[in-house]
């Protein structure tokens, strides 16, 4: 597959669905990717099997406050600068960039960097969805080192971290990001194609584009049932939204009042950027790490910061990547990791029991 300007809208749409309420408003990432492709041409998306075993892959992302990114837009050359550091460090060329987080801005930005660097994108990501912290990546479950993590800003400052584990990398990167003006670009889990094959979520980009394309035309719920095994949780109207901030994270909850077949039902959705738990009439019907996405009536996914009273929405949930359903996966990103005293049950199993 090659990502050209006409494919970007589909990718943005798809990323918003996989983002599960997080990943930020994709518009900015979309415009960045479009500008880069207009200047440098389309970006090839290659399967990991097509890349040489020892070829170096760089998963890239931005960290920081969405509000800051909307004002202090990147330079565009951050990816190439990061690439140069790794090539010096490992003494061999980088063969592809990759998406670290499949959602909103984060899914689109690597397209821009790949176009600038004239490198392909590997058809994979490290989450299969969006999560708020950089250690919440599948390679972490396979014992792959997160570092060295290279962080850079638009000025050309570069910081390289070699941490003892992934959680420490997160702890070290945050203050650097703050010093750089509360947004920064980075690469994590640099790895060879051979190592990546068993440790990442494969086929993410082609899947996101495919889903995005189908959503442009078809009934969104039917499309997502067929493509990602989605389960419809409720169709209704946002009746209440509450927000608060803890430790720098935007948390909140929304109540969706059912209508039509769902009249009389209430769904409570809790989120920390990403949607974490959905309770239907008090019972858990989906929880992290499964993806919970709110769709508006145009079939587009609504990021949690844009939820507001009166919106007509359909809430769906679909299975996360199997790696997250293992004991170590759930230890890292299961309900208890977010402070919920509940056992994870896969969304399709909850659904089957209710039917």
């Amino acid at each position: 597959m090659t990502l050209g300007e006409p494919d970007l809208e589909a990718l943005a749409r798809g990323c918003a669905v996989f983002g599960g309420g997080g990943g930020g408003d994709p518009t900015l990432g979309y415009v960045m990717a479009r500008e880069a492709i207009r200047r440098n041409g389309p970006v090839p998306v290659v399967d990991l099997d097509e890349l040489p075993d020892d070829g170096l892959i760089l998963p890239v992302a931005m960290v920081g406050a969405p509000t800051v990114i909307e004002e202090k837009i990147p330079n565009g050359s951050e990816g190439e600068r990061i690439q140069a550091v790794y090539e010096r460090h490992f003494g061999r060329p980088v063969v592809a960039f990759a998406v670290a987080e499949l959602g909103g801005v984060e899914g689109m930005l690597p397209v821009a960097w790949a176009a600038h660097a004239r490198l392909p994108l590997a058809d994979c990501d490290l989450m299969g969805r969006a999560f708020p912290e950089i250690h919440m990546c599948t390679p972490n479950l396979h014992g792959l080192p997160i570092g060295p993590v290279v962080v850079t800003d638009e000025r050309g400052n570069i910081a390289t971290f070699t941490s003892i584990d992934a959680a420490w990398a997160e702890r070290l990167v945050r203050p650097t990001c703050t010093a750089m003006g509360s947004c920064a670009s980075l690469a994590i889990y640099p790895m060879t194609a051979a190592r990546a094959r068993g440790a990442v979520v494969r086929g993410s980009l082609t899947r996101a584009v495919q889903v995005g394309r189908l959503l442009e035309a078809g009934d969104p719920v039917a499309v997502l049932e067929a493509e990602v095994g989605a389960v419809r949780l409720i169709e209704g109207k946002v009746a209440d939204v509450e927000r608060w901030t803890t430790q720098g994270f935007a948390r909140g909850s929304a109540v969706i009042e059912g209508f039509g077949d769902d009249a009389g039902r209430l769904l409570r959705l809790e989120f920390q950027n990403e949607n974490l738990v959905a309770l239907l009439d008090g019972e858990v019907v989906a929880s992290v790490p499964d993806v919970i996405t709110v769709l508006d009536h145009g079939g587009g996914a609504v990021v949690s910061e844009r939820l507001r009273y009166g919106q007509r929405v359909t809430v769906i949930s679909f299975p996360c990547h199997p790696a997250w359903r293992t004991a170590t996966g759930l230890g890292l990103v299961g309900p208890r990791a977010w402070g919920y005293d509940l056992d994870y049950v896969p969304v399709e199993r909850i659904h089957a029991a209710r039917a």
Partner: protein, 521 residues
């Protein structure tokens, strides 16, 4: 010479009609008129004034203040008429190069407006530190290389809402190199969100000549009508700007129409918190009043294909009006979205025409009483009751979407098409139809207050929240006085706080709005 307040003339130029009202000091309506909007706008204004002032009890010489809401700026952008060529300056290098200025504009508009674009080093971080030192020499070189004549310059600095110091320095360079040109600074135009604020600033710069010409034409029509008055324009938040302020901030007049009708509705009913539905011939605008002012949109608003983030009322428009056509499709009933519009008095059945409209449905079912009543000759196959029920459902859904909470609120109906609306809507505590509902927008212009709004980002490491809040409120009040408000009556009407996620150490974005009655000068 400014005079003590006596009579006020409110004018609203809409897409279809130009309305005028004359109010006395007790806000009583002395005269009202409604004429068709003309392509040149000003001749329509002149005839609306002539009709209103010609109504006996209103001597032109007693009119001391004129308040005008107009679609002139929107039309100028839509038709790309009279727009100035703008030198587009962004201060933000080495950041922001990933998306150059005007990248999201429609090509034709960009070609018409842009005289050249540059990103020079500079700008700030969210906490006020320098992102990079501002480079005056690079800006001077860009300006010198532009092909003259350059009439306007738009300057947008990264995080200018935190501090406009780099934008001010850039303005000095522009004055030194280009002399007297119109300079628009983004800190005065919009809030956080670089691309949207930059877009609004460039549009503003492009509109400065349109604004000046329009103001001159208005002054001439007023003089010709024997009116010697102070002139104000309404802006998109339903408040007034003095004439000299409009000349430098013309973009803020865009979207003033819905804001005027909502303010008019608030005034006519005395309600401060309500939903307002302005039902016209073709569409219905639904918005919420909060503390007597239109609630503003939290998401970017597009103006003629350009994303902006300046203050716009949060309006939901649905294709529903008195002229909406009722279609009998093979698969059942369909409402609109087309409308007979201004041809309603000729084409609707009730006026002797052949086209079934929602006005006809209202007449048939006895909800409205006008035109000719059905006498058995109306098409039997039109399901009048069902059409009206469908229309009621569309309106009810729009009202519900606009409400801020589940609590029932009053609904104010204004606009000529509101005769088609029901007297009960779910989730609405009462439906209010005030007198003069058909010219609510011109009344909204006439009674408008003067306001000021400021948005700033504070890093709470060095500021306490209380100090930051007080500072923003004071800045908003000062801004209102600068725009013409009586300092005695200025009050802060709205404060919004937003904690910025993902920052270590709390940061707060504060937006405050102050408004006050018109100053006597």
């Amino acid at each position: 010479m400014p005079r003590a307040l006596d009579l006020r003339l409110g004018i609203d130029v809409g897409g279809t009609n130009t309305d005028a009202v004359v109010l006395d000091r007790q806000d009583r309506v002395l005269a009202a008129s409604k004429v068709s909007t003309t392509p040149d706008v000003t001749s329509g204004i002149a005839s609306a004034i002539a009709q209103a002032v010609g109504q006996g009890s209103v001597p032109a010489h007693r009119i001391t203040h004129v308040m005008l809401g107009t679609t002139h700026a929107t039309n100028a952008i839509l038709e790309q008429r009279d727009l100035q060529r703008v030198a587009v300056v962004r201060i933000g290098g080495p950041a922001t190069h990933a998306i150059p200025p005007l990248a999201t504009w429609p090509d034709h508009l960009r070609r018409t407006v842009s005289a050249g674009e540059v990103i020079v080093p500079g700008g700030l971080e969210f906490d006020g530190r320098e992102l990079a030192p501002f480079d005056p020499d690079e800006l001077a070189r860009f300006l010198e290389a532009l092909e003259p004549p350059i009439d306007a310059v738009a300057v947008t600095g990264v995080f200018a809402p935190v501090s406009d110091r780099h934008e001010r320095q850039a303005e000095e360079v522009v004055r030194r190199v280009l002399g007297e040109v119109a300079v628009s600074l983004s800190a005065e135009i919009g809030s956080v969100g670089l691309l949207e604020r930059e877009n609004a600033t460039v549009l503003n710069a492009a509109l400065t000549r349109v604004a000046r010409r329009f103001a001159e034409a208005l002054e001439r029509s007023l003089a010709a009508s024997g009116i010697d008055a102070v002139t104000y324009f309404t802006q998109n938040d339903g408040t007034l700007m003095a004439l000299d302020y409009v000349l430098s901030h013309p973009v803020l007049t865009i979207g003033s129409g819905p804001a005027n009708s909502m303010r008019g509705a608030a005034h006519l009913t005395g309600l401060d918190d309500a939903v307002v539905a302005d039902i016209g011939g073709t569409s219905t605008d639904v918005g919420a009043l909060s503390h007597g002012f239109p609630r503003q949109s939290a998401i970017p608003v597009e103006v003629c294909g350009v994303r902006t983030n300046f203050r716009m009322p949060d309006i939901l428009s649905i294709p529903l009006g008195g002229g909406t056509r009722i279609h009998l499709a093979p698969d059942g009933l369909r409402l609109g979205p087309d409308s007979v519009g201004y041809r309603l008095p000729r084409e609707a059945l009730t006026f002797g025409g052949n086209t079934p409209t929602l006005t006809d449905a209202a007449v048939f079912t006895g909800r409205a009483d006008l035109g000719v009543h059905p006498n058995g000759t109306w098409p039997r196959e039109v399901p009048w009751e069902r059409a009206l029920t469908r229309a009621d459902e569309m309106l009810a859904e729009a009202v519900d979407r606009v409400k801020v909470s589940r609590r029932p609120v009053p609904l104010v109906m204004v606009g000529g098409g509101s005769i088609i609306a029901p007297n009960r809507i779910p989730g609405v505590s009462e439906i209010v139809r005030p007198p003069h509902f058909e010219v609510a927008n011109a009344i909204g212009a006439a009674i408008a207050h003067v306001s000021g709004q400021v948005e700033r980002v504070y890093h709470l490491g060095s500021w306490s929240r209380e100090v930051a809040l007080a500072e923003v409120c004071q800045m908003a009040a000062d801004e209102a006085v600068r725009a013409g408000a009586d300092p005695e009556s200025v009050q802060v009407v709205d404060v919004e706080e937003l904690t910025i996620a993902y920052l270590t150490g709390p940061a707060l974005r504060i937006r405050a709005r102050a408004a006050g009655a018109l100053g006597s000068l």
